[in-house]
Amino acid sequence: MKNWKFLLFIIIISVGCKKPYNPKVINAPSSYLVVEGVINTNDVTTIKLSRTVNLNSAVTTNPVNDATISVESDAGSSYGLTSSVAGTYTLSGTTLDNTRKYRIRIKTEDNKEYLSDFVQTMVTPPIDSIGFNLTGKGIQIYVNTHDPKNNTHYYRFDYSETWKFHSKYNSAFISNGVGILYRTPDQDIYTCFTGNTSSTILLGSSAKLKQDVIYQNPVIAIESTSEKIEIKYSILVDEYALTADAYKFWGNLKKNTEQLGSIFDAEPSEISGNIHNTANATEPVIGYISAGTVSSKRVFISNTQLPQSWYPTYPYSCELDSAWFHAPHTGENQVQDILVPFLALPVSAFFNGGPGPAGYLYSDSQCVDCTIRGTKQQPAFWQ
């Protein structure tokens, strides 16, 4: 329903202009606690604790260590979380009763205590399917789900995507620091895997429908020229059932931080979560703790499922140059000067009538070495 605002936005941009805006440094009077996570009743519960940083700060991550976190049920049981990574607290190996309500208790190292409101456990219905539609620009991946019992209505999704890609040039040679050798299969740097996780808030609601059905809820759009779909692409979608209150929190957070800035958009408003300082109710605490199960589904999209006319655009501009053992005019040993000390990577050999190569075609590492942007290790789930 906000689409027309987007149209207006586009019109304004085309008549007017959008420029970076950096108001003079504004600093918050203090740093606020940020709590993120879901009490997962049938798997690992992960809670992340951090603090806000000033806008001009170079790093955004500001984890809070040495806090004590526990999950409490309305039946009185309590489960302590342990911290392995900075700011991340986990509870594993415990299955919680889905009929109870849960909350978390946080005690920070400066002895402040925070408590979330008791929330109902939401059992998330399974994801029915993940598919995609061809759009003019590429593909739009969507998710379908439904609750046959008609009592979920509010959903949140996040995803983790993985794709196989290759570098611009397939290098057959490698420098060992002394000379140029043939590259062995395990030294291959042509084909890699990489991935990404969702950074936008994905919500779906069937509150206005007769049945609790989420049909083709957009997840992510991939352009036809994207490397993601040049060979094979995989996406794992997690689905979280939300209470109406949690849905409102996420919707508000989305509006406040992903809005377009047209003046028809709602003004930034206070994001009130469900976590409070037990001693000072007015202290802002960011975050909303929900409880429930998580449903996940993974699908693969192979390049063969897509139009053959689509062609990826390599993210860097690449050229092949030649390095001679004896450069025609200068007599310089360019192989020794450039390729051996790893200043560029050899791709293929060229010959000039002699038995051995007269030199190598070479290119920059970002055009040859896929490990700069990914890993050669095939993920366990890869098919």
Partner: protein, 921 residues
């Protein structure tokens, strides 16, 4: 009987003459037989030292047969001119003979004091109130002719009489609204109403009426007022259309009218103001006036003296317009070829208006030309216009029709590929018919239709539409009393539909209908009192939202927020009381009754607890037609003016207002798909009051007008929303609203030059507007319940609108606008959440966007001014935002690939040239 009168008349004359010429009563004995005037004069001059002055030609028809002995000159002449239209006047030794009218040898009766011993009074006290005899009211078209008003008498009686009539345009027969009639020697004046009607009480006798009208050439009429009577005055339009800027109709009104904070603008002034795309825009001009702000360019709403955008009553010929903009707010929905003038009431809101808290913008359309068919056409960058008008029955019935449409799709074609298939279109039509049944009855019909449609990539389509019709009947009971009775229907509706996702395909509809009945009476009780009274009633019916599937696969659950009904009625009485020639008061009361009507189901909440689902005690179902809740409250409207000197006055005013209909909008500016809500048992009516004080001065023969006004205003029960509130299709909106209180104060300085080659206006306004949420049951409070600046709080604002006329054909206009940037809420911290950087916002509106500055320039070229040619052409060429300053429209912080960045969005960020071509035929 008649003889006795005549006898006594002569007797009195004799007495008077005798007393006046004590000591030397020269007596004459004459004998004339069919004597010509020259014979009579020669005879009388030869017998005395009197000298006679006369025009031989005027007296060529006179033959005198008379025989008298030893009579004074007066008797001789009385007898000689008896039963003729000749008059004489004697002063010392001179005698003036005239035909048709008498030369007065002393100051006019009524000029200062009435001659106490004027002997003529009893003689003519006959038939004084026969003024209303049915006869054709003269059309006074000439300046140098003396018009006789009322029942003619030989001598002028003391006392006062009422002159009334219409002022019309000589060419088109249209009423001239807001024209002033001013009688300099008595310092009295009157102004015409929207039908060109005026009524003025004057001492009997001879007067010069100075008549001034908006866009009309100043003129005067000479009258002799014998008794109550009528006079219709026809005025000529200023021939050059490179008009002077006249911000106010009436040059003396600035100082003399009792009202404060009222501005009238003629369409010709509005057309001088350069706008983006060259499209004359009546709403953008309103923004150049002191005390009016908006949240940004290309927005629909405007804010008057700290009021919210939905607190302005926008009337088009008396019909309420709910959405006055086309194309997301880029254009006003009013056709500049049809609009005659606009009037903005910021402070002294007449009693006849009510129902909105901050201002009334009264837009009046022209009446059609009653004498001949004319029309005009205009071509601009985005729209084309055509209007036709003419008589249906010459001098009695006329029509005017105007239409506009857009071809703005070319603009959309400039968009990136993925939006190229979007469409946007709009049109609007106006029709006006006016008919004069007779001198006492006129009827007027006006209709308005506007429609906007836009569609995004064959996905979601939107449309909204205003539909209005109003019928008015004006009846003159007599010179002192007239009424205007009107009935109309206003409708605003919008529809949104989407079919991209078959399962979620929907149609969403909203509409508001109101039926109005109004009767306004104006009674000129005496020259000291003018009474306005009347009643009005509005029946609202709102369908707050229907939501339906629009195809068979759609799983959308049909939903409809139940229709709302209410009746808003008011009775009012106001009096403009001229206490003395220097001191006038306008005082009135408007009593509002508001009934929220069934059928409806109302939730009853536990008292003193937040309105939340948990606090619903029960709900009551009301039957159709039952009165669920009544709010009744008086509005007080008082203003007063004291003249410190002829050119300087001080004015003060106080008024209160109530508003029963609320616009639900939680975005910075009004959007076309916002919802209206009526006050009900859970949503209180908004109310506000304002006190204002002003100093008004005219200089240089009223060509320079200056004013300073200060005001303080309070607003109560304005609606704000809980964070994350969903306003559309909300069945329990009372659970999501928070009552907000507001206060606004400011000082407005205005100087304008209304005549000369250089004219225009310049204003500076200092104003503040603060809002506060102190509803203890609101739950969360914005800024902890402290006052915070409203979105449109712009403390400093400066405007200049000027026009320089080189010749009658060429003129240039320059506009400058500066204001403090509007308040915004900025992020003060960032954090990671949901896989991305997010920002944490400051207190609401704690910061401001950069200051705003814009300059616009245009050149107006008129075709030649030959009266007889097929068409008259004109061109307007200009540049909007001459300096190309990139004013911030908004700033925002948004996530892109997991990183949050700040952006400043500008519209019209470069100089925008425009050209417009207009034809009149």
């Amino acid at each position: 009987m008649r003889k006795i009168f005549l006898l006594s008349f002569c007797f009195l004359i004799f007495l008077h003459a005798a007393s006046a010429q004590q000591g030397n009563p020269k007596l004459f004995s004459v004998n004339f037989q069919q004597a010509t005037i020259s014979q009579v004069v020669t005879e009388l001059e030869s017998k005395s030292s009197y000298h006679f002055y006369y025009d031989q030609a005027q007296f060529d028809s006179l033959r005198v047969t008379l025989q008298v002995t030893d009579k004074p000159l007066e008797t001789v002449l009385d007898l000689a001119f008896k039963k003729t239209s000749f008059y004489y006047a004697i002063t010392q030794q001179q005698v003036f003979l005239t035909k048709g009218r008498q030369i007065k040898t002393d100051l006019a009766v009524g000029y200062s004091q009435i001659h106490a011993n004027t002997p003529t009074q009893p003689a003519v006290s006959v038939a004084d109130y026969t003024a209303d005899v049915e006869k054709k009211v003269p059309d006074a078209t000439t300046e140098n002719k003396l018009y006789e008003i009322g029942v003619k008498t030989n001598s002028i009686k003391a006392g006062k009489a009422i002159l009334s009539g219409y002022i019309r345009d000589i060419k088109s027969g249209e009423a001239v609204t807001g024209a002033s009639i001013y009688v300099a020697n008595t310092k009295t004046g009157a102004a015409t109403d929207q039908f060109g009607y005026f009524s003025i009480t004057l001492p009997r006798g001879r007067h010069v009426l100075n008549v001034r009208g908006l866009g009309m050439r100043d003129t005067r009429r000479q009258i002799i007022l014998y008794s109550d009577g009528k006079l219709n005055i026809e005025m000529q339009e200023q021939i050059n259309s490179l008009k002077e800027v006249k911000i106010s109709a009436d040059k003396v009104a600035n100082v003399r009218s009792v009202a404060l904070g009222v501005t009238r603008l003629d369409i010709k002034d509005i057309k001088q103001i350069p706008t983006a795309f060259g499209e004359t825009d009546v709403l953008k001009v309103v923004l150049t006036l002191p005390g009016v702000t908006s949240v940004g360019e290309a927005t629909t709403g405007f804010n008057v003296r700290g009021g919210a955008a939905d607190e302005n009553l926008i009337l088009l010929d008396g019909a309420t317009i709910y959405n006055p903009a086309h194309f997301f707010g880029f254009f006003a929905a009013f056709n500049p070829d049809i609009v005659k003038d606009i009037e903005l009431y910021k402070s002294s809101i007449p009693e006849k208006f009510g129902g909105r808290l901050s201002s009334v913008l009264d837009i009046t359309n022209r009446e059609g030309n009653k004498k001949k068919f004319t029309g005009s056409a205009g071509i601009g960058l985005l729209t084309s216009r055509l209007n036709i008008e003419g008589p249906i029955v010459t001098d009695k019935t006329s029509f005017i029709f105007g239409g506009r449409t857009t071809y703005s799709d070319w603009l959309l074609k400039l968009l990136p590929e993925s939006y190229k298939h979007s469409q946007a279109s709009f049109y609007d039509f106006n029709l006006g018919i006016s008919h004069q049944i007779n001198e006492k009855n006129n009827i007027y019909l006006s209709g308005y239709l506007s429609q906007d449609k836009f569609k995004l990539n064959s996905d979601t389509s939107y449309s909204y539409s205003n539909r209005n019709i109003v019928l008015k009947w004006k009846h003159n009971y007599n010179n002192k009393l007239y009424s205007l009775i009107s009935a109309g229907i206003d409708r605003y509706q919008y529809d949104i539909s989407s079919s991209a996702n078959p399962v979620n395909a929907y149609d969403l509809g909203f509409n508001i209908n109101q039926s109005n009945f109004k009767s306004d009476f104006t009674y000129y009780l005496s020259n000291k009192h003018t009474l306005n009274f009347g009643l009005s009633s509005i029946l609202y019916k709102i369908n707050p939202g229907t939501f339906e599937p629009n195809n068979p696969q759609s799983l959308i659950a049909p939903d409809a927020v139940p229709a709302e009904k209410a009746l808003e009625s008011a009775l009012y009485l106001g009096d403009i009381f001229d206490v003395s020639s220097n001191f006038s008061i306008s005082a009135g009361i408007r009593y509002n009754f508001y009934n929220y009507l069934g059928p409806q189901t109302i939730n009853n909440y536990a008292p003193n607890l937040p309105k939340e689902p948990a606090n619903i005690i029960d709900s009551t179902a009301y039957k159709s037609g039952s009165i669920i809740k009544t709010f009744a409250a008086p509005d007080i409207r008082i203003s007063a003016r004291y003249l410190l000197s002829d050119n300087l006055s001080i004015k003060g005013g106080y008024n209160t207002l109530h508003q029963y209909i609320h616009l639900l909008s939680n975005s910075t500016s009004i959007s076309p798909t916002d919802v209206y809500k009526l006050s009900d048992p859970n949503i209180k009516p908004e109310n506000g009051d304002q006190v204002s004080l002003g100093l008004f001065k005219n200089a240089k023969a009223n060509t320079i007008e200056m004013s300073v006004e200060v005001y303080y205003k309070r607003l109560r029960n304005y609606l704000d929303y809980k964070s994350g509130a969903v306003l559309l299709l909300n069945h329990h909106i009372e659970q999501d609203v928070i009552n907000t209180q507001g206060k606004a104060y400011g000082a407005e300085f205005l100087i304008k030059k209304t005549a000369g080659k250089l004219n225009g206006w310049m204003s500076y306004t200092y104003s503040r507007t603060f809002l506060r949420q102190d509803d203890p049951n609101a739950g969360e409070l914005i800024n902890e319940g402290k006052y915070y600046p409203a979105n449109y709080d712009k403390p400093h604002s400066f405007n200049f609108s000027g026009n320089y006329r080189f010749t009658h054909r060429y003129s240039v206009s320059l506009d400058l606008a500066y204001s403090t940037g509007r308040p915004i809420t900025l992020p003060i911290a960032k954090y990671e959440y949901g896989g991305s950087e997010r920002v944490f916002y400051s207190d609401r509106n704690a910061y401001r966007i950069p200051d705003y500055f814009r300059s616009d320039f245009s050149i107006n070229i008129e075709g030649n001014h030959k009266v007889h040619q097929l068409t008259h052409n004109s061109w307007t060429i200009g540049v909007y935002n001459l300096t190309g300053r990139q004013n911030a429209y908004s700033t925002f912080f948004t996530e892109q690939s997991g990183v949050i960045s700040g952006y400043k969005l500008s519209i019209f960020a470069a100089p925008i040239p425009f050209i417009n071509y207009n034809i009149r035929f």
